[in-house]
Amino acid sequence: MRLIQAAAVTAAVGLLTGCGGVKTTATGGEGDFPTGNIQMTVGAAPGGSTDLITRAIAEGVSKELGVSVPVVNKPGANGALNAKELQSAKPDGYKIAVQNASLFTITPLAVSANEAVKLDDFDLIGGISQDDYVLLAPAASAVKSIADLKKSGKNIKYGTTGVGTGAQLASALAFKQAAIPATDVPFDGGAPALTALLGSQIDVATIQVGDSIAQIKAKKVVPLAVFSAERIKFLPEVPTAKEQGYDVVVSQYRFLTAPKGTPDAVKTKLLDAAKKTFATEAYKKFNDDHCLTPIEGTPDEVRKILDEYATKYKAQLDQYQISLGQK
């Protein structure tokens, strides 16, 4: 009996240790980076796009650099919690994270200042990919374009993936520019919004392309517009909002970050490993499966993209007097 007790305790403690809750990372000189595990943190729960992208990259980087790259989820505050932790981590390249552009460009427009994070507090390693939004209507409705919505003359109830997301920003801008009376109905992510749309509980919804491509292909929902600058290859026949006469260009963009002050040699090494991962067939297929458009730019290009987005969004919100949330 005692033996069983002892064994049970050992097993339990061992398992917990194995699950690697609290772990220390090895550190070494810059020249021979990496000498230990590189931890990639995700500011979201398992299963979301950011999580899946991180895991795909972690797998490739691990192969390239020959060390293991555990992925740790630290969900909270749209990723702000993870960002703040990364910010204060040791800048040695052993802790890196994929982050979302919306956290820096859109969320600050919707939430209070203490939840906002600044891009300048991080070192950029490189760009990853762009995730686009599409405006959808149920197949049963006769609506085929934004103009059709205007013609219907009623107050449009539009579903979005939540407050402070690109989906909310894009829809709000589009309806304001088209002067369509509309009410924002936020959902917690793409899946519930899409479900409500399929049941015609709402008139239209703006959702990430990857989350709705199967339903679009099955003709359960009709795409009205994509909010990218140009048509995307996954939905080549769907016109952009811009083509339809509305200046709405909103995308999610993800990039690789490290704590501020990470040595250049380490960043270069990480970027090289990431680039080699991006070039693999497996990763290209991953992008296609999830309808992600690769934009694997240099840190300067990433910064430029983000700055442009941030400035443009802010200007447009002011111009059309839209508020995404109450600060």
């Binding site: 005692r2 064994a7 050992t10 609290v22």
Partner: protein
């Protein structure tokens, strides 16, 4: 079980305090209108219910017999809670191994004695052995 009117009143008081806290907090958040419900509308509704029921409890529940008094043994619970707080405070500083051992030690040494477990040293030793040797 005995009646403890004071404890019942205390329970009602705490519940009422939570309700009032909720009321104040949600009013500060803004109630909005039904067409555009504000962030405070729902917590406000819930807080009203809590507050009203706290009053009901204070008026009708004084003769309930579902409370337990604090005894000298309650000090043990306080010690236990304190040990947990220390554990959580140490965890990020020195990793989980040492605080875990300390926690188990404190609980076995100080909190379990009265339960008729006089053989804690051997129990602990066995546990340590099995943990470290594996």
């Amino acid at each position: 079980m005995t009646e403890r009117p004071l404890a019942q009143l205390g329970a009602a008081g705490v519940a009422g305090a939570i309700g009032v806290f909720g009321l104040v907090g949600s009013l500060a958040l803004g109630l909005g209108r039904l067409t555009a419900p504000g962030p405070g509308l729902w917590p406000f509704t819930v807080s009203v219910v809590i507050t009203v029921l706290a009053v009901v409890l204070a008026l009708t529940g004084r003769h309930g017999t579902d409370t337990e008094g604090f005894t000298r043994a309650s000090v043990q619970t306080a010690v236990a809670v304190l040990s947990l707080v220390v554990f959580a405070a140490l965890l990020p500083l020195i990793g989980f191994e040492i605080p875990s051992l300390l926690l188990v030690f404190v609980w076995m040494r100080f909190l379990a004695r009265s339960a008729g477990c006089h053989r804690w040293p051997s129990a602990l030793a066995r546990w340590l052995r099995s943990t470290c040797c594996s």
